[in-house]
Symmetry: none
């Protein structure tokens, strides 16, 4: 409700600035703690099994305090999702641009490095979308993601120009890679495949090879007509 009331001025001049800022810092720190703990708990037990009270207990605070930081449990999902995408962004912006390969590796390493987390976030996003509400939040998240994708797309474009990748829109390559990584994630997470795949190390190496070759131009070798594989396919 908009009570038609002006925002409070909040000029606590009688309160030492340094102390105040410490309070603020601690407040933010607590928020981080909540998010960290939530993430860990969600990953391990599934977000449905984790109650707000459990989160509060795990951080060592009261249930009500959670609601000073987040409007609802779903709001925690949103923030987690945002942070994830933001971390990714930071990662991509940090990377040395003179070494495109490392960016690539970082990106997929980031996702593959914590399969449960990646899977969790897929699920959370799905939930948020289905929930209705959160349109805005999701739009923001997607914006950040798109920016990240653009950085990667530039890379892909360079490789396409250099003839190393098939001449299809960059997002074809990106999406395909994403899909393979996602699949690998699911594999990694699946109890069944964990027991089915005996020699995991070799297998993931195999998968990595596939990922790297995937979409390579001329991977079927000696197309002399310069047409992409895709075009050939359409013959």
């Amino acid at each position: 409700m908009n009570w038609g009331i002006a925002a409070k001025p909040k000029i606590p001049d009688y309160f030492p600035r340094e102390k105040e800022s410490r309070k603020v810092r601690e407040f933010k720190r607590r928020e981080e703690e909540i998010l960290e703990s939530s993430l860990l708990l969600f990953k391990t037990h599934g977000e449905d099994k984790i109650t707000v009270e459990v989160i509060a207990d795990s951080v060592g605070i009261g249930k009500g305090t959670i609601y000073k930081h987040f409007k609802s449990k779903s709001d925690i999902y949103v923030r987690l999702l945002e942070n994830y995408e933001l971390d990714l962004k930071a990662l991509l912006e940090t990377e040395d641009f003179t070494d495109p390969e490392s960016i690539w590796r970082s990106y997929f390493g980031f996702r593959m490095g914590d399969p449960e987390q990646a899977i969790l976030f897929g699920r959370l996003e799905d939930k948020l979308v289905k929930d209705g509400q959160y349109h805005e939040a999701i739009k923001n998240i997607h914006q950040v993601r798109s920016a990240n994708m653009d950085i990667l797309a530039e890379l892909v474009d360079k490789r396409i120009e250099s003839g190393k990748l098939e001449q299809v829109p960059a997002y074809f390559h990106l999406s395909a890679s994403w899909a393979l990584v996602h699949g690998a994630l699911a594999l990694h997470q699946s109890d069944y495949f964990q027991s089915y795949i005996e020699d995991k190390e070799s297998f993931f190496e195999f998968l990595l090879q596939i990922g790297m070759r995937m979409g390579n131009r001329g991977q079927s070798g000696h197309n002399q007509d310069g047409r992409s594989d895709l075009e050939q396919v359409k013959d």
Copy 2:
């Protein structure tokens, strides 16, 4: 007259056997209906948003009746999972063994044909595993799946022997394929990628090609006949 022997308990005439068996048939039919309806509802709205009551209503029966068929809501998950695997089994066993490719296509077509379903089952299996309980049920499901995998593995082995696929354990190829399909599924289901991928048709074509070439022997380019991998696949 054989007085010493008790008269065989009569099956009362007014309760004809055929009627009894009809009852049984109807009972089974009802079970199917519950499963079908559940599946549809779970896919569309997510299993968490669907209450047992909604399922009952959708089938036109009472809530209690559900519990005559299934011990719990999770039991429905289990049966759904089992059926899925069993259907797959049936599919693989039906297929003409003289055309290995069609088996392959059937298997992945089965999964790609209904992305939401495949995703749902991934989620359900995960849930059951995390729940503890259901060890036994899951083991059974995995057994059927393994049998299915074996059928496919035979196929892969043949192709390896014929030099068409890289010489790694068959399950490498299978798992990699599964991963790519799963990733494609996730792509398909993701709101974000649905808007990110502009030319969906071409893209999925592209992905299909990748899937088919993936793990091909000589993909680094030793095909000497100059034909694309896809054409080889079609041999």
Copy 3:
């Protein structure tokens, strides 16, 4: 949510009709019990102090059962309000139409007979209105009330025609009466006035006189010009 599912047929032919109808009867009886108990508790302690759990306990049922009968706590308010208006309607329709006075007395007796209840309903209606939602329910309640008012208005009209009441729209008289009764109610309920008014019996007699004379034509006596008091006032 509209699940897109046809309403259940519900043809329990295997279930004796009489038993079924007993169940239905008991269900309705329980609903009555909930309403009765709620009304009593709300009147005595105020609806805010009464929790759904307290209501359930007072009826001797579980908390959840309440929600089989009412969608929400506010839904109980609505039903209470509806019943009140409907009871009034029944009362007015029962009354002997040959004795208009008795109808009048019944109506106001109905309200004055249980001051706390009348006050409660004023509060509940106000709450419901402020809550937003419940537009529809309130509209229905108002419809019934209007019908009741119409019955009373007829009476008033007759008295106006017979020259007994001032010639103003019937609803003027009705509303004024309503106001006085409402005020009397508040008086009755107010701790302060309960102690302020020493001789309650005489006072309420006095008030009754006022109510009956109120709006009488020519109560100021001998207006010879035949103009209503109101017109005189506007001079």
Copy 4:
């Protein structure tokens, strides 16, 4: 030098007395602000929907500060009620005693002038009474109110003595008036009556006349001068 006597604690020069008193003044001003804002918010949204935090924000202070002024939220109710009665008292004491009518008009004008407020206070008083606790506070409020009533009663007594009003205890007349005003208030506030009463202006005029004639002596028609009661009142 008087060593044996401790130096009188100095009022430090840098903390001038006037500043101190300004502080006190500001503190009191703040209290007024809290009360004003609370009243406005309570009237508009209902006291239950207004949290202490909202009040604090509306005044532009911290939530904790509210509790420097008031022991509890209910304490605000008490103070509001007290102020109301005190304002009334001030009003009555200010009025020119040579014009009794104006006192009368002021009193009821005060209540009718802000229906929502009058209704709110009725509700708040009821709440406090039901709450137990606050016996003392309520007793004080009632004392002030009684004093006010006494002033009005004197007036009424004069009119009774002059034969203008029926010879019943003064509080009969006062209470009856209060009741009618209260009823008018409720009418004014009720959504239903707002739509039911089409010609509001005329109606409230009508009600006013009733209020003025109400309890008049000779209302059964013994005025021999033929003037309306209203005109008499204006004498």
